[in-house]
């Protein structure tokens, strides 16, 4: 593989409970391998593509349905509560900030990590190719689900607040512009990438959740302080 060897899932230094550093080292190696174009031979590419397709087919419909339902419920609760307190002008920005920026990326990462553990990949070509397929498919899937669920949440929020009319689009666009300032946009992109990388490399380990919470906390600190 042109000098780049893909570490196997069980190639970590300590067998039972590897420390943080060896685990992160292995994760970095997996990411480096996944980002190396030379590793994608036709066979590997086929396995990775199959992994992406099967993972998407396995997780995307359920997650998007659940995300849509969750978004609808939360949007309705927030909008009705805000209206009852006379603060309806803040409802939309609150919903967008809570759902799209905070909840849905975390939910997508948790869903992918729970649904697609490394054991779920079927060995057809070999352990290295399977491992690579799992890493890439989880990485792509977290980003895909975060993006798609965010878009669905935005559409549902618009429909909940303004109904089936195009005349609220101007105000909605302005609210989007106010919520997604450059800092929030960068924090969202960085958080999604870190979630995707964490889930891609550390899925199935107990330390993934600690890492996800650490990333979320870090992003909140960067966003609000």
């Amino acid at each position: 593989m042109n000098g780049i060897s893909l570490p196997a899932p069980n190639d970590t230094g300590a067998a039972a409970a590897p420390g943080w550093l060896p685990m992160l080292h292995t994760a970095m190696l997996q990411l480096a391998a996944a980002l190396s174009p030379s590793i994608y031979t036709p066979d590997v590419r086929h396995v990775v593509a199959s992994g992406i397709c099967s993972a998407t087919a396995q997780a995307a419909p359920r997650f998007l349905a659940l995300a849509g339902l969750l978004s609808l419920v939360i949007v309705h609760i927030v909008v009705v509560t805000a209206q009852s307190y006379g603060l309806s002008q803040f409802a939309l920005s609150t919903v967008i900030r809570v759902l799209v920026v905070e909840l849905l990326p975390l939910a997508a990462a948790l869903f992918v990590s729970l649904r697609l553990s490394p054991d779920a990949a079927s060995p057809t070509v070999g352990p290295h190719a399977d491992s690579l397929a799992g890493v890439v498919s989880r990485f792509v899937l977290v980003i895909l689900l975060t993006t798609a669920s965010g878009v669905i949440a935005l559409i549902l929020a618009y429909l909940s607040v303004y109904g089936f009319t195009p005349w609220g689009l101007s105000a909605f666009t302005r609210t989007i512009g106010q919520v997604f300032d450059p800092l929030v946009l960068m924090a969202l992109a960085l958080k999604t990438l870190l979630f995707a990388a964490s889930v891609a490399t550390l899925a199935g380990t107990a330390r993934l959740f600690g890492l996800l919470i650490a990333v979320e906390t870090l992003m909140l600190v960067a966003e609000f302080f």
């Binding site: 036709p42 590419r45 086929h46 990775v48 593509a49 199959s50 992406i52 397709c53 998407t56 603060l87 002008q89 803040f90 792509v140 980003i143 895909l144 993006t147 798609a148 965010g150 878009v151 666009t173 302005r174 989007i176 512009g177 106010q178 997604f180 300032d181 946009l185």
Partner: protein
């Protein structure tokens, strides 16, 4: 083998389509957000100058008649200590701003601050780019200490008013006693006059006054009353006056005659003067004659005066 190859090519195409869809969604969202933040819109700069930028943050709207027509781009502190709020106003919305427009920064107790523009005179020239205008502040929370101080003094006054020995309490006690008396037989009259006895006396006095008025009506205005007699007297008096006027006219004529008589008397008086002088002359001569006779014998007398 062909089936496997077909499956591979389908999987790769699907995977690429998924990744392309994801990238497309991300790019479209970023472009949408940039458009929402006005990146692709031509704008003109408006600078609002105030003394406090509290509540102002980049990205907040400048409202006009409830519609957002601008967005705060930056807030900076000038060298003279004033605050400069730099606002980007889209060129298509800048027509609402005039040279006479007024800008306010309002802060409420709940929620964000609001920047608002008011253009009262629509015929004024449009606001030029990079215009600097003062911003007026209306801050509800700044009034809280004053409101609290006023409320405290008001409560103290209220406490003083409602104390047990306060004038208001005594007044209310008096009002209670007065209203208590008003519940008696003579109603409000007892409350005003102080007792039932006084009210009863007043009512008796009123009755007597009514009787008196009835009698007076009979005596004065009735048949043969004082007023009718007075009218007859006035008629008689008018007759007397007419007679007096005639008498006076006669007196006037008499006086005219007297005046004529007086003129005659005056001329007669001038003749009397000459007669008087003649009489005096005659008397003086008679006196001289008597003196001469007295000096003659036998009427002569010793006129010598002898001293004792």
């Amino acid at each position: 083998m062909d089936r496997e190859t077909a499956a591979v090519s389908n999987a790769e195409r699907k995977a690429l389509a998924l990744i392309a869809l994801t990238v497309l969604l991300i790019v479209a969202f970023i472009v949408y957000v940039m458009a929402a933040r006005g990146v692709f819109e031509p704008t003109q700069r408006l600078v609002l100058i105030g003394d406090n930028s509290e509540g102002v943050r980049p990205g907040m709207d400048l409202g006009f008649a409830g519609f957002p027509i601008g967005r705060v781009n930056r807030v900076e502190l000038a060298a003279d200590g004033n605050v400069r709020i730099l606002i980007d106003v889209p060129t298509k919305d800048a027509r609402w701003l005039r040279t006479s427009s007024v800008f306010t920064l309002e802060r409420s107790l709940v929620g964000d601050a609001h920047l608002r523009a008011f253009s009262a005179i629509a015929d004024d020239p449009p606001l030029p780019p990079d215009a600097e205008r003062p911003v007026l502040r209306g801050d509800a929370s700044e009034q809280i200490p004053q409101v609290l101080a006023t409320a405290r003094s008001l409560l103290a006054n209220l406490e003083r008013l409602t104390a047990e020995d306060s004038p208001l309490s005594a007044t209310l006690g008096h009002v209670e006693s007065v209203t208590g008396r008003m519940r008696g037989r003579h109603g409000a009259l007892s409350g005003v006059l102080g007792s039932e006895e006084n009210a009863r006396k007043l009512i008796i006095a009123l009755d007597r006054t009514n009787n008196l008025l009835a009698k007076t009506d009979t005596r004065v205005f009735g048949e043969g009353g004082m007023l009718s007699e007075s009218q007859a007297a006035v008629v008689q008096l008018q007759g007397l006056l007419r007679e007096a006027r005639d008498s006076l006219r006669q007196v006037d004529a008499i006086l005219a005659d007297a005046q004529i008589i007086a003129g005659d008397t005056r001329s007669a008086s001038a003749d009397l003067q000459a007669l008087r002088s003649e009489v005096e002359t005659s008397l003086r001569k008679a006196g001289q004659l008597i003196d001469e006779i007295n000096n003659k014998w036998p009427f002569a007398r010793d006129a010598e005066i002898r001293l004792p």
